[in-house]
Symmetry: D2
Subunit: 168 residues, 4 copies
Amino acid sequence: MSDNGRIRVFATGGTFDKEYNALTGQLFFQHTHLADMLRLGRCHLDLVVESLMMVDSLEMSDRDRELIAERCQVATENRIVITHGTDTMEQTAAVLGARLTSKTIVLTGAMVPYTFGSSDGLFNLGTALAFAQTLQAGVYVAMNGRCFHWDEVRKNRELGIFESLRKS
Amino acid sequence: MSDNGRIRVFATGGTFDKEYNALTGQLFFQHTHLADMLRLGRCHLDLVVESLMMVDSLEMSDRDRELIAERCQVATENRIVITHGTDTMEQTAAVLGARLTSKTIVLTGAMVPYTFGSSDGLFNLGTALAFAQTLQAGVYVAMNGRCFHWDEVRKNRELGIFESLRKS
Amino acid sequence: MSDNGRIRVFATGGTFDKEYNALTGQLFFQHTHLADMLRLGRCHLDLVVESLMMVDSLEMSDRDRELIAERCQVATENRIVITHGTDTMEQTAAVLGARLTSKTIVLTGAMVPYTFGSSDGLFNLGTALAFAQTLQAGVYVAMNGRCFHWDEVRKNRELGIFESLRKS
Amino acid sequence: MSDNGRIRVFATGGTFDKEYNALTGQLFFQHTHLADMLRLGRCHLDLVVESLMMVDSLEMSDRDRELIAERCQVATENRIVITHGTDTMEQTAAVLGARLTSKTIVLTGAMVPYTFGSSDGLFNLGTALAFAQTLQAGVYVAMNGRCFHWDEVRKNRELGIFESLRKS
């Protein structure tokens, strides 16, 4: 099921990693919580976690997406998970999908910050790591327990869920 | 990646679903927390959850395992996730593995009860649902982010992790 | 120590009761969490909880403060706790302090929303209910484990703590 | 209201400080969580925390109670909070009450371990610290938002609440 090869996890920010600033009442980024989450999940995969940026995906630039694509290309791992804001996850997936065809890349994120206790982040991270181990090369979005190919997914902003563009 | 078919989730108890009784100071079972966990994970898979029993897996009988196997066989779904205590997960997996060859069945559990806040359960459930969607027919154990075939896994009780019996 | 009389708890909003909107990524008010918090605290005081408004205290108007003062005056209880945003807690305390001299009124709040898991709200609510039972008539602010008379307190916005204006 | 003097907090164990051992599935003591709880409560009282023992109060010996009494007597602080298991809190309170008459001593505890997320501990700690600041010399039990004099309290084991022995 798994090739037991190492998985690289890139953190880019998004709701996943937002925190509450008690002094200002604003949400902000400090650092990724991926290490805490992997510890909580008692994950024993061979992983390397790397934080590329900590941005709200609405503020992610073309240059940021370029950087993510480059880092996926030069990574020695064939299996990659990317944590990402949900608002533009499909755009980044499309940039990667058009360019990277020989690696299994799974983007995931959260609708509620991990630090808020009631987050979907830990569940999503679990699905993303499992999909990354089992799916063939391609770029995917893992949200809501499901996995979508990059060219068939959109975020339904009214419902806050990801759905397939394909006729079902 | 997924056949978009319905997944059946059987709850059998285990640490996963244990709760703290504030009056007695003991751990006990009330009912499964799977519905709460799926809501927290914002899961939108086509699932049906069914509680078969609520037992500590150290107290699971041959008859209990027989029941689980029967229910897997008669289920109309080809993809099944079973939540189970970790102490005898490999035994139940072996019973199922010897008998069910045409369905994808993934057992998972937790080392810390879901209700205790610091549980690996949500992460494990995410991995199990993803593995159930993507793996070919067979019986598997999903723990620690990894997925093991039923005939190659054991729980390392000193470390509290699942490991492969295969030479690596 | 207590007259065992009923305590009235007025909710007015503030960080205490803010929630995270997963669709918009914004904080908002839905309803007070006081009932949940009192259940969690296993509180068995004779209490009546009433929600007067759900506002950020930076947006609390003179008219809102007037309403709070009136409701304190007409309440049949002599001991009152008010949950309030921290940013203008001292202003509301001053309005009440200048007018209500025969009741024990304790304002409290939180620096982190209760629903975020890592909130000081439950601790503060505990202190406020205890101070309300034991202090003589007067208007007080209970934050950071301490209790301040209304005319000697200010919020230190840099540190996010309440401190006494009195020379120590 | 407060003499602003330093409060000494003695930890003795109890449900308050129990943790879950993921390897054995048993509850156990590691160290007190008081520092974490005071940080979460953003407490800025002048406190000194000292762990005297980490025991289930059902296993607290006469010698343990003797030690607690001695440490209360020799403490330079006049205001003391003791975290304690709920099962024999009233016995320890009686030992202290018969001997210490010039200090304000408040015992508190929890029905659910702090580390389990759904604990009453933080609320109780808040009430205990507030009662310790405001009550006159005496030995008290602070539970369920209420404060009881040591010679009038009992734990109702069926309901899991503390109640007064006095006719109401």
